[in-house]
């Protein structure tokens, strides 16, 4: 079954977000909602769905990867447009969590949908068995649950639940679509309350809140412990509640209490805290409300971060707690949980309770531990899932912790008997099964993880900033390994080594892929090093750094073998310039590319100006003459534009129209490798471009524009200095329109402009400010 057209019913936050994301996959989608009651005649009967699309276009973070994707969403209403469902291969129901309403809707959908189409519910609380009750035979065969997480574009987890009657081919086809086309990590769950992620997540939140009250921790202390140290986002518990809405918790609790088996540990853990009930009653529901556990107090024009006192319920300025337990334990989770003070006790209580609960639920909620870990990683953004966390503690140590805490040791932990839940055997990752044996962690076809490659062997070569890996079939992978994947001389050396090893691409090595599995591909050049060099005026070294980058990137561009970039997350500054020099970029859909150098008072100096200019100059859609391309490149670089998706990066020409986009991050490296091998067959390097540039006349026009922006008060004095340098580079310095120049000439201008700018004290201030605050200085 191919999903060529889809429908979402219910244009609320989840439904419209799912529709937007289906559109992101390039699939046309119908979005239906009710006709509002008491509408005047002649009014738009599809106003609910149409309004939802308008909201999607304004939402931040953007549900659409590109505004034009909105055109793929057809809004309609449930009275006039049910017929549109007849063409849909997949119908997602995302209406209110009311079994009667859903059942009624299914009975209306069933006669109009086409034979063999799949219907799924986005329910998070209603069992599948209850949903299909009383529905037709055919409906039961074609029905399953697809549980997305909010926001659907960004959260990678998709919980998929099938019933005893669900056609396995339908489930497989949909799972494949959600994996490849929607980029989701599809986790198969059993038809149990809360499925996997919310079942464990709700317990974790409840346990952590209870413990904070019981042990007398402040919200900041609790979040400092049950956050980063456990590999959990820094929002911790209370920050997370503020984010998702504190009023959501009673809903989830109610549904779990109504459906969980007797004796489930959640029942014992469940407690209503009067303070939280009061907060909800007063509208203190978190970021969407008037405040939450934290709030920004804007009284008196300032912006003071405040936290609620769990004892008194009053707001007070937020603190940055530095618990002694954390200082003593460092990264050792066991030491943290062993620490004698109340923050150690907090870590102990939360970890023991949550992990034991999770361990007790396999195989009740999932067939294996891998699904549980994956669900918590992708659905709650934990760095490690519960079983990986138990491995960090040691399964025997953890069993002992359970005994100390008076919690029954889960059967699965008993079965582990001190063995880890995961092990590496013969270079392959294996996990412990419910019957106590190890079996390889499955990797679907088309999934190649650098982490698997790394587990299996040693790098071909490495230094302090990068490693070279053999990813098979003659393809080498260059991985950045520096902090935040910043780029420095060692990175350049690694490129040099890769080129030396690959040689002419006709020996053992055929191609190079640049890829890593960090959150961000690269945030650019190492500013700390640059600042150090500036502060002691190591001008020749700085110039050499610029030249070396240009040399290296150019050598890669013209190397006799193909180079494929495979980024995900941020690719900024020098990280963007790497991609600009690749023969092909296979980008994860969530790649955020930008030449952001102006923010630190310089211009792109590693060929970024030159390459972006060449791309715009080659655009046949621009008007003739040199200035349109220059103006485009100038606008993008001077405003330090960062694309908010790979699709947007194509608009900005950071990516070429022909570059590939992979929706599922787990498939990125395999896609990039396949492209590299395809290019390696009969590869010829690109031909250098020549540039027809206007020289001083064009520069003067850009200068005039910059002056206008300055007068408007939208450009700072140093913006003007930097932009004038950029104008000089992009217009070709002293070039004349009759004398085309080669890229060497523009690269030389880049170097000169860069060196002129690093001599400016205002540039140094910008770099310093960025390093200390992470934000650009507007000087």
């Amino acid at each position: 079954m191919q999903i060529q057209r889809a429908a979402v019913i219910g244009a609320g936050v989840m439904g419209s977000g799912i529709a937007a994301h289906i559109a992101n996959a390039g699939v046309p989608v119908v979005l239906l909602d009710i006709v509002p009651k008491g509408m005047p005649a002649g009014a738009d009967r599809s106003a609910v769905a149409r309004g939802a699309v308008q909201k999607l276009l304004k939402a931040d973070p953007a549900p659409f990867m590109h505004p034009k994707n909105a055109r793929l969403v057809t809004p309609g209403n449930l009275e006039d447009d049910l017929g549109l469902l007849a063409d849909c291969d997949w119908i997602v129901e995302a209406v209110i969590e009311d079994p009667a309403i859903k059942a009624d809707l299914y009975r209306r959908i069933d006669p109009v949908r086409k034979a063999g189409s799949v219907v799924s519910s986005n329910t998070s609380t209603i069992p599948l068995a209850a949903l299909v009750e009383g529905q037709s035979e055919a409906f039961r065969r074609d029905f399953l649950i697809t549980h997305f997480f909010n926001p659907p574009r960004y959260m990678r987890l998709l919980e998929l639940v099938t019933g005893p009657d669900t056609r396995s081919d339908a489930a497989d086809a949909l799972a494949d679509f959600c994996d490849r086309r929607l980029g989701k990590g599809v986790v198969r769950c059993k038809d149990r309350p809360g499925f996997i992620a919310n079942r464990i997540g709700a317990f974790w939140i409840q346990a952590a809140i209870n413990a904070a009250f019981d042990l007398g921790l402040s919200v900041e202390e609790a979040d400092a412990i049950a956050g980063r140290p456990m590999g959990i986002p820094k929002t911790g518990i209370f920050g997370l509640m503020d984010l998702v809405g504190i009023d959501l918790m009673p809903h989830i609790a109610r549904s779990l209490l109504a459906t969980l088996p007797e004796g489930d540990a959640y029942r014992a853990a469940y407690r209503e805290h009067p303070l939280i009930a009061r907060m909800i009653a007063e509208g203190l529901t978190g970021r969407k409300g008037k405040g939450g556990f934290y709030r920004l107090n804007r009284d008196g024009g300032g912006k003071v971060k405040e936290a609620i006192d769990l004892k008194t319920g009053a707001y007070r300025p937020a603190e940055r707690p530095k618990p002694e337990s954390l200082a003593a334990a460092g990264r050792d989770l066991r030491a943290l949980a062993d620490h004698p003070d109340r923050t150690g006790a907090y870590a102990r209580t939360v970890l023991a309770g949550t992990l034991a609960y999770a361990a007790s639920l396999v195989p009740e909620i999932a067939d294996d531990i891998v699904s549980v870990d994956e669900a918590m990683r992708l659905g709650y953004n934990w760095k490690q899932g519960p079983f990986e966390l138990i491995d960090r503690l040691g399964s025997d140590w953890f069993a002992d912790l359970c005994r100390r805490e008076g919690i029954p040791v889960p059967a699965l932990v008993e079965r582990a008997a001190g063995r880890p839940f995961y092990r590496v055997e013969g270079g392959r990752l294996e996990h412990l099964t419910v019957d106590g044996a190890y079996t390889p962690v499955p990797r679907p076809d088309g999934v190649l993880l650098l982490s698997d490659v790394k587990r299996a062997g040693k790098p071909v070569w490495k230094n302090g900033s990068a490693s070279l890996w053999n990813i098979g079939d003659g393809v080498m992978c260059l991985e950045f390994t520096s902090k935040m994947n910043t780029l420095d001389a060692d990175t350049m050396a690694a490129y040099g080594k890769a080129m030396a090893l690959i040689g002419d691409g006709r020996g053992a090595w055929k191609a190079l892929v640049v890829h890593n599995e960090a959150d961000n591909f690269s945030v650019g050049a190492n500013l700390g090093l640059a600042l150090f060099a500036l502060n002691i005026a190591l001008w020749p070294q700085i110039e050499e750094m610029v030249e070396a980058g240009q040399r290296t990137y150019r050598a890669l561009k013209y190397a006799p073998f193909p180079v494929v970039g495979a980024p995900s997350g941020m690719a900024l500054g020098g990280g963007c310039e790497i991609l600009l020099h690749c023969d092909h970029v296979q980008a994860h859909a969530e790649t955020y590319v930008g030449l952001v150098e102006v923010g630190v008072g310089v211009i792109p100096g590693w060929g970024g100006c030159t390459e972006l200019l060449a791309r715009h100059a080659a655009d046949p859609k621009l008007p003739k003459g040199p200035m349109p391309a220059i103006a485009k490149a100038f606008e993008t670089i001077s405003l330090a534009k960062v694309a908010k998706s790979a699709a947007e990066a194509k608009d900005l020409k950071y990516l070429r129209a022909t570059d590939g986009i992979t929706m599922n991050r787990a498939r990125l490296l395999a896609d990039a490798k396949a492209k590299a091998l395809e290019l390696a067959d009969g590869y010829t390097p690109p031909q250098p471009a020549t540039y027809t540039l206007p020289g001083p006349g064009g520069r003067t026009a850009l200068d005039l524009f910059v002056e206008g922006v300055r007068l408007q008060g939208k450009a700072t004095p140093h913006d003007v200095v930097v932009c004038r340098k950029l104008a000089e580079v992009l217009t070709g310095g002293d070039a004349d329109i009759t004398q085309p120049v080669d890229e060497d000439a523009i690269l030389a201008l880049e170097r000169k402009a860069f060196m002129d700018l690093v001599h400016e004290p205002d540039t140094v201030d910008r770099i310093e400010h960025m390093l200390t605050t992470g934000k650009p200085l507007r000087n």
Binding site: P623, K624, G625, P626, M627, P628, P694, P696, G697, G698, R699, T700, A701, D703, L704, G708, L711, Q712, G713, I737
Partner: protein, 378 residues
């Protein structure tokens, strides 16, 4: 010298550049539509056309390649008529009228189609490839002074407060909105078939504009300035056309004569206060006509910016009861090359409608110029 008359006026709707309904219409098509409509409405014999003169401020891209000739083909005018594209920036299409008037007067033709066009959506101000003279920019930066800054300079020189500018802008919108409501603009507008459907009304007029709503806007060109988007004419798409003929020919052929051209003038001024250009230009034209501003029952003064319009009103002593009766460019829009034909044609039409003896049409021009036309009733 032969007597010269204006024997017809028509224009397209004016709509906002980029976001307006005409943004996706090619300017040559827009122009051709207006020209063809004027030919049809006046019932002129196209074979008698001596020349087609089209004003355009940035004659390139889709309005390049002597757009006058190409639009003539599109409008199915006979190949025997000439065609010229005229550039005097904002004064381009008034200049086209002046050229035609001069030619008629010296016996070099009896019938001229004078038009103007600008798609500010499709051809940017300054054109696609601005390449300025670096030495001039360095030694005499006034030459390239941006239009918004000239408006600020005029406001400062004449001490024109922001509130006063906003009052003029609000009045302009009120007059234009009223004119539209009363259907007084219908006769001059030629509907255009745009990708989104047929467009028959102006798109820039904001009837809800008030002094309060204008007061909320931020300065547009100078951080601490007084000129806002609300007191500037908007970037606009549009075309306008005027029929210029010898009076003798017009009468012999039954053309609908609106007014006689009494005198014309152009004048230069300092480029950094280009908005004052109408002052010397109008004074010259009035002197040539042997008339004074007090004789003018109708004045069409292009509102490039409220500040420059106010300065010109003060300097020339314009009676506001005669000024821009159906709204000015702040409300209607200012498609650069088309504006001269609009205000001249409009002044002629108003002269007839209002039954006044004389009219003045005048406008400022980027780079520091003014242009003016004095009309008299026939």
């Amino acid at each position: 010298m032969k007597s010269v008359v204006i024997a017809g006026y028509a224009r397209s709707p004016f709509t906002f550049a980029t976001k307006g309904e005409l943004a996706r219409v090619r300017p040559d098509d827009l122009l051709a539509g207006v020209m063809a409509a004027l030919v049809a409405r006046t019932g002129l014999n196209p074979d008698d056309l001596e020349d087609v003169a089209v004003g355009c401020a940035f004659p390139e891209g889709e309005q390049g390649l002597n757009v006058a000739r190409l639009a003539s083909f599109l409008a199915k005018l006979p190949e025997t008529a000439g065609a010229t594209t005229v550039n005097r920036f904002c004064g381009s299409s008034m200049q086209a009228i002046h050229q035609a008037a001069g030619a008629v007067a010296m016996g070099a033709g009896d019938l001229f189609l004078c038009a103007g066009v600008e798609s500010m959506s499709r051809v940017p101000m300054m054109g696609f490839n601005p390449m300025l003279h670096p030495g001039l920019a360095e030694g005499y930066p006034e030459a390239y002074c941006s239009m918004g800054i000239t408006a600020e300079n005029v406001a400062r020189r004449y001490g024109i407060a922001r509130a006063e500018q906003e009052a003029l802008a609000a009045a302009s919108h009120a007059r234009a909105a009223e004119a539209r409501l009363q259907g007084r603009l219908e006769a001059e507008i030629v509907p255009v078939d745009a990708p989104g459907g047929r467009i028959a009304e102006d798109g820039c007029i904001r009837p809800e504009t008030s002094a309060e709503s204008l007061a909320a806007l931020k300065p547009a060109f100078l951080a601490e300035g007084t000129v806002t988007a609300g007191t500037s004419s908007p970037l606009t798409d549009g075309a306008a056309a005027v029929l210029v003929a010898s009076e003798e020919y017009a009468r012999a052929n039954g053309l609908p004569v609106l007014a006689r051209i009494r005198s014309i003038a152009v004048a230069g001024c300092a480029p950094d206060v280009m908005g004052l250009g109408p002052v010397p230009a109008a004074r010259k034209a009035l002197a040539r006509a042997g008339l004074t501003i007090g004789d003018m029952g109708v004045v069409e003064l292009n509102e490039a910016f409220a500040s420059q319009a106010i300065a010109c009103i003060r300097e020339l002593g314009v009676d506001e009861a005669t000024l821009n009766l159906d709204g000015g460019a702040i409300a209607l829009g200012h498609p650069l090359g088309a504006t001269g034909a609009r205000i001249t044609g409009k002044a002629a039409a108003l002269l007839k409608r209002e039954g006044k003896p004389f009219a003045l049409a005048t406008q400022c021009i980027g780079g520091g110029q003014g242009i003016a036309t004095v009309l008299e009733a026939v």
